[in-house]
Each structure stands twice: as structure tokens, then as C-alpha cells.
């Protein structure tokens, strides 16, 4: 019956790992047209579902058994929660009559996941399943999206229900997300924009989630307001477009941060002003008027005090802006931000002599070699910042774990994204640390013949932390040296995946071209100088 619910929600694929307590459901799934993908560790089932959800725009489905299967999912669920990714997480649970007795493979997963789920269900009766699934999909994919957990005891999975009727609509009295922005607030915002001398538009992950890319670009173009982006907002505005200034924050572009600093009006679009994007949010409002647009009312006033809050779907609010706005940005401001942009020189020059690939310039080359609508996934650490700062995402996507900062995200997310968009080029960028966290998924990749391209930036260090230790802890490298790294090319060979190693930028470029030309998965290992800077 649960498989029947998924079919009604038009689910095409489920990522998971089996166990006794989820077997009845898996058996139904096996006999349904839904494709099931066996992962190699449960956390990656959630990441693959997340990559799938982000690439397809539909909730991703992942499945695990009770106890350790479920607890292994937690990091994946929390990762999705922090980045507001819609997931349906289905876990098996021990039999209803044994609940609470600490039997084999029992864990209170709804309790454990309480802080990381948008909502969760512990199913008490099979008759509730259709309603619960309908509600779960509705909750996961509307408003501010997020993961929803459905924990189903094994006896309930087997329970026969006389008649299966799938509800047409979810009716939850306490859940009615607001979509259109309040007309008065929109007016106030437009008035503030008309008065502003130095406005800046901040594009956050909410713009991506709302599918408001076209609206944001259209509004930026019609109003002429310069755009900066948070890490989660990368890819909304192509980096080569004239009024795009770059990424803000701790690891952001200097000119983008400078524009934020000098602005007298900051329009936050689906950006929650996390600490990595703005280090002192309380000071932001002292110098500038802040318009904060978010679908989640709780984000408004949480990290930054907004002068003009607008609760609503960013897409609809931006449409209101486009229709009603007659903003003209003073030329001096445009000239200034364009001058800052011009003065900004991205770091890193190609290196063909030291035996290492210079990562930042290589990222720029990689980006020029890829198709316009390619999907890029980046892991966490130096590789993430190299990619975020230097990649030119045009029509494609940039997928990374921005909120929780989960290492090992890029590879499974890339697999999920490729399964959602088989025709698109998918590139995964990892460090040697993060790659090893998810390396087991090469098995999933082979089993499902997933053609993704992988780049492993190997410096035999956990580079981001090493850099912190260099700056603050007297270069005492506690737990950051990856001695004992394997030969990644041989690992790839063991899986039957073509691979190569590059020790100079010239070689890396040549191999990357070869990699993109091949119609199979490929691992390109780049040797990177351990002292290569992040920024």
C-alpha cells in the first residue's frame, strides 16, 4: 500500500538500503514500476535523494530499515533540513507491539530526528497511510521545503486494508503557508527602492527553491540593481552577467562584500543571513535599510532585523516588483560597483612546473569546458570554496551542503542529480577527505551505470582545517594529515571506472577534456599543493 501511495505521488525512484523491518515495503516496491537504487550506506540514500530533489524539483524519496539504518540517515536528513530540500524519508520500525522494549534494531527515530525534520509520523495504523503520505508530500514540497519522516512499524507495512483510496488533497488545519506578499509591504519596499542611492539585491537559496531564477534575473535587469549571492544562491544569476558582483561572506568575493558594506538598501531574497554569509548581521541594519523577503516568517527577525519584511513566495513577490517598479539606480553607484568588480583579480595562476595543479585557475578552466546547463556538485572544505568562487554557473546548477556543511555530500548528490537529469552533464568536485567519506558509493554508481564526472583534489590534507591550524594553532596539524591515502586511480580501476592523475594545470586541462568527451563515469585526480590557499 505504501508503494501504491508513492505511485500516486508520481514517484519514479527511491534510494535505500534494506533490513528486516522494511522488507514488506521493499517487496511491494520491487513489484511496482518505481526504480529502486541500492546505496552502500544509508546516509548516502538521503544525499542521493537530496541531489535528485534539487535537480528534478520534486521531493526525493529514501528508505532505510529500523535502528542503525534509520540512525545512519540522520546526517543526511539534517543536511536536507538545513538547506530546505524536500525529502520523503521512509524508515521501517520494529513491530507495533514491541515498540519501546528496546528490541533488536529498535531506535526512536521520530524522536531523534525531531530537530531536523519539517514534520514526522510514527504510523499507528495502516488505514492512516494514504492520508499520511498525502500530507507528507504536501508538507515536504510546499512553503519552505524540508524533509518529512514516515516511520512505519513492520506489522503495519503488512497490514491489509480493505479498500485503498488515495486522498486528492491534504487538509492540515495548522499548515497553510502564505504565498503572496502583503501588498502594503510590497509598496513600502518599492518606495524604499525608489529612494535608495546604493541598493544591492542579495540572492539566496530561497530563490532557487522557489524556482524564481527567471524572475530574479528579470527584476535585476529591469531595475538595474546590482546582485550579490550567498553560496546557496550561486547559479541563479550567471557569473558573467554585467550586474552580478559575486558571492558574499567569509569566503566570498571582496568586491561583493564591499558592495554590501557600502549599500544603503539591502534586499534579501530568500537568504537567511547565516553567519558564513554575514558575520555581523546586527550591524547590517545600522547603515542600510533592509528588505527581507522569505516564505518562512520565522526567518524574519531571526538573524537580522528587517525594516521591511515581506513574507511570501519570492517568485510572486518578484513578479509584483517587476510589474510595479520604476527604479532607477544612480549611475555613480553602478559605476562604483563595476569598478570594484573590475579591480577584483581572482587568485591563482596555472602552474605547470611544481608537480601540482593550481586549483583556483583550474576551476575556471573546468567551467569553460563544461556545457551551459551542467550540474556541478561541490563537497565541503577548500574544494567547495575553490568551486564556489571560480566556477561560472550559467544555465546549470551548483549543489552543495551550504547549511550543515556535510562532508561526503557531493558524490551521492551527483549520483542523485544525474538520475534525475540523465541528459545533463554532472560534475562532482571533492577533496581527498570528502571523497573518502562517500567512496563506497562508487558501487552504487557502477551498479546503476551512472555517468558522472568526478574530480578529486588530492593534497593529502584536510585542507580547510589545516589552514585554520596554520592561522590559529601554530601549524600543529592535529588530525588533519591524510597519511595512508590510497592510490585513487587504482581504487577507480578496481571498480572498473576510468581514471587518471594530473600533476600540472596543462595536464589537468587535457585530461578534463578527455573526461568530458568520454561517455562513461570518470575520476580525475588532481595533485594539489598542501599549502594552496582557499581564497
Amino acid at each position: 500500500m505504501m508503494a501504491e501511495c508513492l505511485k500516486n505521488e508520481n514517484v519514479q525512484i527511491a534510494f535505500g538500503y534494506p533490513g528486516a523491518a522494511i522488507c514488506p515495503f521493499l517487496d511491494y516496491l520491487y513489484r511496482s514500476p518505481i526504480k529502486n537504487v541500492l546505496v552502500r550506506e544509508e546516509q548516502n540514500a538521503a544525499h542521493e535523494a537530496s541531489g535528485y530533489a534539487r535537480a528534478s524539483g520534486k521531493p526525493g524519496v529514501c528508505v532505510a530499515t529500523s535502528g542503525p539504518g534509520a540512525t545512519n540517515l540522520i546526517t543526511g536528513i539534517a543536511t536536507a533540513y538545513m538547506d530546505s530540500i524536500p525529502l520523503i524519508v521512509i524508515t521501517g520500525q520494529v513491530s507495533s507491539e514491541l515498540l519501546g522494549r528496546d528490541v533488536f534494531q529498535e531506535a526512536d527515530i521520530t524522536g531523534a530526528c525531531e530537530p531536523f525534520t519539517k514534520h514526522s509520523y510514527l504510523v499507528k495504523s495502516a488505514a492512516d497511510l494514504p492520508r499520511i503520505f498525502k500530507e507528507a508530500f504536501h508538507i515536504a514540497s510546499t512553503g519552505r521545503p524540508g524533509p518529512v519522516l514516515i516511520d512505519v512499524p513492520v506489522d503495519i507495512q503488512m497490514e491489509e486494508v480493505p479498500e485503498f483510496v488515495y486522498p486528492q488533497k491534504a487538509n492540515i488545519i495548522g499548515y497553510k503557508p502564505r504565498t503572496t506578499g502583503h501588498a502594503m509591504q510590497v509598496k513600502k519596499a518599492l518606495a524604499a527602492m525608489a529612494e535608495a542611492k546604493r541598493p544591492v539585491l542579495v540572492c539566496g537559496g530561497g530563490v532557487v527553491l522557489a524556482g524564481a531564477r527567471d524572475e530574479l534575473v528579470a527584476f535585476a535587469q529591469s531595475s538595474g540593481i546590482p546582485v550579490v549571492s550567498t553560496m546557496m544562491g550561486i547559479g541563479v544569476v550567471p557569473m558573467d552577467s554585467p550586474l552580478y558582483l559575486g558571492m558574499i561572506g567569509m569566503h566570498g568575493h571582496k568586491n561583493a562584500n564591499r558592495a554590501m558594506h557600502e549599500a544603503d538598501l539591502i534586499i534579501l531574497c530568500g537568504a537567511r543571513v547565516g553567519d558564513r554569509a554575514v558575520s555581523a548581521p546586527e550591524q547590517m541594519g545600522e547603515k542600510a535599510t533592509i528588505i527581507h523577503i522569505d516564505i518562512d516568517p520565522a526567518e524574519i527577525g531571526k538573524n537580522v532585523t528587517a525594516h521591511i519584511p515581506i513574507v511570501g513566495d519570492i517568485r510572486l513577490v518578484l513578479r509584483d516588483f517587476i510589474e510595479q517598479s520604476a527604479v532607477s539606480v544612480p549611475k555613480e553607484w553602478i559605476d562604483a560597483v563595476l569598478r570594484y568588480k573590475k579591480e577584483f583579480v581572482p587568485g591563482g595562476e596555472p602552474d605547470n612546473s611544481s608537480g601540482f595543479v593550481e586549483p583556483r585557475s583550474f576551476m575556471r578552466v573546468l567551467s569553460s569546458l563544461m556545457e551551459e546547463d551542467a550540474i556541478l556538485t561541490a563537497d565541503v572544505g577548500q574544494n567547495q570554496i575553490w568551486a564556489a568562487r571560480n566556477f561560472n554557473v550559467k544555465e546549470g546548477r551548483f549543489l552543495t551542503s551550504g547549511g550543515l556543511g556535510t562532508m561526503g555530500y557531493a558524490l551521492p548528490a551527483a549520483i542523485g542529480a544525474k538520475l534525475a537529469k540523465p541528459r545533463r552533464q554532472v560534475l562532482c568536485i571533492c577533496g581527498d577527505g570528502s571523497f573518502q567519506m562517500a567512496m563506497c558509493e562508487l558501487g552504487t554508481l557502477c551498479q546503476n551505470d551512472v555517468n558522472i564526472k568526478m574530480i578529486v583534489m588530492q593534497n593529502d590534507r584536510l585542507g580547510m582545517v589545516k589552514e585554520i591550524q596554520d592561522n590559529k594553532y601554530g601549524s600543529r596539524y592535529a588530525m588533519t594529515l591524510l597519511q595512508g591515502n590510497p592510490d585513487f586511480v587504482k581504487i577507480a580501476e578496481a571498480y572498473g571506472i576510468p581514471a587518471a592523475i594530473a600533476t600540472s594545470n596543462g595536464e589537468a586541462e587535457r585530461l578534463a577534456k578527455e573526461m568530458f568527451a568520454s561517455d562513461r563515469a570518470f575520476i580525475l585526480v588532481c595533485r594539489v599543493n598542501p599549502d594552496a590557499p582557499t581564497i
Partner: protein
């Protein structure tokens, strides 16, 4: 400052842990919490008294609203609601002091609900301030046990928490 919140929730398993978990997770302090069903058996009311500033109470309200089973959150306006709390107080009471304690009980409009040779159990339904007064009056006799139910609150006049929902 203390704020009283009236929260209507769907009466389903786990809802109380969802609400209380949110408080501990976000570092909000609960002064008291009381739950019971309402005129509609499918809906329960949770009355919470929190200690905090305006920022905290605004965050509490917004975060509570995000919970799916939460139907309505209302921060009650000071002076515009009635609140009371039920307390049961067991106090040492040798026979010779009984009359004395009964006098206090009468004075405070409390009730004696159990009598034994060496103790008395007193029931009081009143606001926090008067409850504290009774407790301090009884203290010299030796209080053995106090059971308090948590503050209940209802708005004055015809206004209800639910009405403003629509």
C-alpha cells in the same frame, strides 16, 4: 519578563514533545506548562509561561507556528486575560495546630481536601502571587509536598484564541 502563550494544537501523539522539544532546542526557558483538551476533542490547548525578552517571545511564537500540528499561537496581552493555577499543598499539622491552619486556609479562600492525624492537604486555585502568599504562610508549619498544575489562562470578555484564526 513573563509572557503567557496560549497554543492550540491538533490532539495527536507526539505533539507535546514537539512543542516542549522546541523550547529546549532553541534555548527558551519554560516557567510553566499546562495541557488539556478543549471544547473540540480533536484540539488541545497548551498554556505556556515563558521568561524572556521581546525577541525571545517573537521567536517562540514564530517557531511554534512552524510546527505542523500547531494550529494557533497567541501571546496573551498583559491585563487582558485571567490566569489561575491549581496547587495541592501537604503541610505538617499536629492536632493542636489544626485550627490555626484552618484559619489561614479560610483567609486565602483555599480548601482542605484531606485530613490525617499529622497532616493536612490544602487545595488552592488562584494566581501565582496569591499561591506564593499561601505557601509562605504555611511554611512555618513545615510543608511536606507541593504539587502545582501550571498556569491556565483565558482571555477576558468574548474574545477567544480560536476566533482570530480565520
Amino acid at each position: 519578563m513573563k509572557y503567557t502563550l496560549s497554543i492550540l494544537v491538533e490532539n495527536q501523539p507526539g505533539v507535546l514533545s514537539k512543542v516542549s522539544g522546541l523550547f529546549s532546542r532553541r534555548g527558551f526557558n519554560i516557567d510553566s506548562l499546562a495541557v488539556g483538551i478543549t471544547e473540540d476533542p480533536a484540539i488541545s490547548r497548551i498554556t505556556i509561561v515563558v521568561n524572556g525578552d521581546e525577541y525571545i517571545v517573537e521567536q517562540v511564537e514564530k517557531q511554534l507556528n512552524k510546527l505542523i500540528p500547531v494550529i494557533k499561537v497567541k501571546v496573551l496581552q498583559p491585563d487582558l486575560f485571567i490566569s489561575c493555577e491549581l496547587s495541592l499543598i501537604k503541610v505538617n499539622c499536629p492536632t493542636k495546630q489544626r485550627a490555626e491552619i484552618m484559619k489561614i486556609v479560610e483567609l486565602m479562600h483555599a480548601q482542605i481536601v484531606d485530613v490525617a492525624t499529622t497532616s493536612l492537604t490544602i487545595q488552592l486555585t488562584d494566581n501565582d502571587e496569591r499561591t506564593q502568599t499561601l505557601i509562605s504562610l504555611l511554611k512555618p508549619y513545615g510543608i511536606k509536598e507541593i504539587v502545582r498544575a501550571g498556569t491556565l489562562a483565558i482571555e477576558k470578555g468574548p474574545t477567544t484564541a480560536r476566533k482570530q484564526n480565520s
